[in-house]
């Protein structure tokens, strides 16, 4: 194994100052800082107003406790529906991000609010058990259990069961891919699309991109190792990891739904995301792959005003609208 750090492309000029500001606020993620990071995520940034999930009354917000995997605790689903109309609507089943170790059902869900109010869609966001307290297979099995419940209760929720897509970012992207594989292999439910936003797919950490960031960018190789180790313990990088935990390890990608993959060129996840998209296509699955030059992990959320962010948001938005409008 090479010991030199692979070279990385430069960050987009507009993103630099935002990256500096955020790294200034947040250090490395490890066991010591984990609790603090979870609190930061749950409480939000001081002075920053919480997102109004009701969108001024246009969205009905509901939380349901539903059965988890067999023999495991119940899980909570956040369900967001249009206040007006009766459906049936298409649904976004959302698996949140946070490196497998932080975040909750509300994390990142606001990205999908416009589809509820503008197109008419239902968003279901699952709160899965987090590592390291709950290692693999807990997170992905919780995600799958929530998806099954949603599909079985589609009518009740105003959802068209034939129009459910799965979407997630970062660890949520990996979980979306893993859940899609479970849905395929267990025969239920059928998903129309999988939207994998800078997804976390591969615990083996062998690619150049997984080694190129050390103390730079967001979610560098140290954070990445911490996340995968929290999820897999000693199994990380070894021979005993399932394809549902690390979808990049799947050898057969046929039969998966219409896919969207995006990633920045200056991300740890770059190479595995590109490879996954290529292998989907080689397996006969249609995929949109967007590689954003100069983007870092989550940059279009953290610096939405930058031209590169507007471009990546627009591409993703256009795909989601197409997917939801059938």
């Amino acid at each position: 194994m090479s010991t030199t750090t692979p070279v990385r492309p430069p960050f987009d000029p507009e993103l630099g100052p935002t990256l500096d500001a955020i790294r200034g606020m947040m250090g490395a993620l490890d066991r010591e800082t984990l609790a603090e990071r979870r609190t930061m995520l749950a409480e939000g940034i001081p002075g920053m107003p919480a997102v109004d999930l009701t969108v001024g009354g246009a969205v009905l917000v509901e939380e349901r406790t539903v059965p988890g995997p067999e023999g495991d605790p119940e899980i909570t689903l956040l369900i967001l529906r249009p206040a007006a109309g009766t459906g049936p609507w298409p649904a976004v089943y959302h698996t949140h991000g946070g490196g497998m170790v932080v975040g909750d059902r509300r994390t990142g869900v606001d990205l999908f609010l416009p589809y509820i109010t503008e197109i008419g869609a239902v968003v279901v966001s699952v709160e899965y058990r987090l590592a390291p307290e709950h290692p693999d297979p807990a997170p992905v099995e919780d995600c799958y259990a929530g998806l099954v419940w949603t599909a079985k209760h589609a009518e009740e929720l105003g959802i068209d069961p034939d129009r459910i897509l799965i979407a997630g970012g970062s660890a949520g992207g990996g979980l979306a891919a893993g859940t899609a594989l479970l849905a395929r292999d267990r025969g239920f439910p059928t998903l129309t699309h999988q939207v994998l936003i800078c997804p976390m797919l591969d615990d083996r950490l062998e690619t150049p991109s997984s080694r190129m960031l050390d103390g730079e960018g967001m979610w560098d190789r140290n954070d990445n190792l911490f996340g995968w180790t929290a999820l897999l313990g000693d199994r990380q990088g070894g021979g005993d990891v399932s394809i549902y935990a690390a979808p990049a390890r799947a050898t057969d990608l046929s039969g998966l739904p219409r896919s969207y993959v995006d990633v920045g060129t200056v991300e740890s996840f770059r190479d595995e995301a590109i490879t996954y998209a290529q292998r989907l296509a080689q397996a006969g699955v249609n995929v949109d792959l967007h590689l954003w030059g100069g983007g870092f992990h989550g940059s279009d959320l953290m610096a939405p005003h930058a031209a590169i962010s507007r471009a990546s948001q627009a591409a993703r938005d256009e795909f989601l609208r197409r997917a939801l409008e059938g």
């Binding site: 500001a21 995520l41 940034i45 920053m48 946070g98």
Partner: protein
């Protein structure tokens, strides 16, 4: 991931926020981010629309805090604004209708500084054009013009060009559009730029300390080069001789009142060959040479001159007639010279 984001826009008027604004623009300058990128950052930091009007291009760019481009619109009184006048000409402002944000002034100053600092080759042209205008400005003193002259690297003898049309783009470093002409300043070592077709140039020698005079002379040469038709090429003030003095003393309207000029002017529409013929007769030593220059048979020329003698009332060739015709031509050129 949203909750992991630090709030980009500034809410507090404190040292940490000020440092964040400064660091943000310093970072963009270090990365040589584009002008529009800087405006996007200003809008995001301020949490309201930001705009940049660039005088060189005449373009106004406005964006909202999400980086979305907005249609062009002008500055409205009351909004905080900073003028640019170093690397670029123009202004930047924030569209803040009510309470000013805590660090609006700092954001605008840093935006302006960042734009000035990263001004590229286009803005170099802006700076040079500005220096050309100052160096040729007759309303400024020698002392006031000198820094611009030095910036342009001019000393001693300078050739001043006045060029039409003013929108022409020449491969000359020191050029600017000034009052309807393109002005080009050349030092003795410069290669004269190649002229596109249909470009007319009035050229004059000048001294670096008195470029306004040189430009005035170049303008005269340009004015007089239009008639008889010399569609392109360079007319030199130094070749005009007395005609230049005459042009400074007599206005086109006055020249038109001279009796011979009035006759020629009246005859021209029905006889388009008239101006070239008069010019050839005045300029060439013999009728034969004049006919060759006009590409007509000498008997054709003879017919024309006979006819002209009838109209003017004097024989155009030989002796006093030649002098009178030459003077008529000079006054006619002044009568028909371009304005300014």
């Amino acid at each position: 991931m949203r909750e992991l984001i630090g709030r980009l826009d500034v809410v507090d008027d404190d040292a940490a926020s000020a440092l964040r604004v400064i660091a943000h623009f310093d970072g963009l300058v270090d990365e040589r981010a584009s002008g529009p990128a800087m405006v996007r950052a200003a809008a995001a930091l301020a949490g309201c629309p930001a705009a940049w009007h660039d005088s060189d291009s005449g373009v106004t760019r406005r964006v909202d805090p999400a980086g979305r481009p907005l249609g062009p619109a002008g500055w409205q009184g009351g909004w905080p604004r900073v003028t640019l006048d170093t690397g670029r000409d123009g202004a930047v402002w924030l569209e803040r209708p009510d309470e000013p944000g805590p660090l609006d002034r700092l954001i605008l100053e840093r935006l302006g500084k960042a734009l000035d600092t990263t001004a590229g080759p286009r803005a170099d042209t802006g700076r040079v054009a500005h220096a050309v205008r100052v160096a040729c400005d007759p309303d400024l003193t020698v002392a006031e013009r000198r820094p611009a002259v030095e910036t342009l690297g001019l000393a001693g003898s300078v050739t001043v060009w006045a060029v039409r049309p003013p929108s022409v783009s020449l491969s000359a470093r020191r050029q600017a559009a000034v009052d309807g002409v393109a002005v080009v300043l050349l030092n003795p070592l410069d290669t004269a730029p190649v002229l596109p077709p249909s470009t007319r140039v009035g050229s004059a020698l000048a001294v670096a300390d008195d470029l306004p005079r040189g430009l005035a002379h170049a303008r005269i040469a340009l004015r007089l080069s239009g008639f008889p038709a010399e569609p392109s090429g360079i007319s030199r003030y130094e070749d005009l001789g007395g005609l230049a003095s005459l042009a400074e003393l007599v206005t086109p309207a006055q020249a038109l009142t001279a009796p011979d000029v009035a006759v020629l002017e009246r005859l021209l529409p029905q006889h388009p060959w008239l101006a070239e013929t008069v010019a050839a007769v005045v300029r060439h030593g013999s009728m034969r040479q004049a006919a060759v220059a006009l590409h007509v048979h000498h008997s054709t020329l003879q017919e024309r001159l006979t006819w002209l003698e009838g109209r003017l009332g004097f024989p155009p060739l030989g002796g006093p007639g030649r002098e009178r015709l030459a003077l008529a031509l000079s006054l006619w050129r002044i009568a028909r010279s371009d304005a300014g």
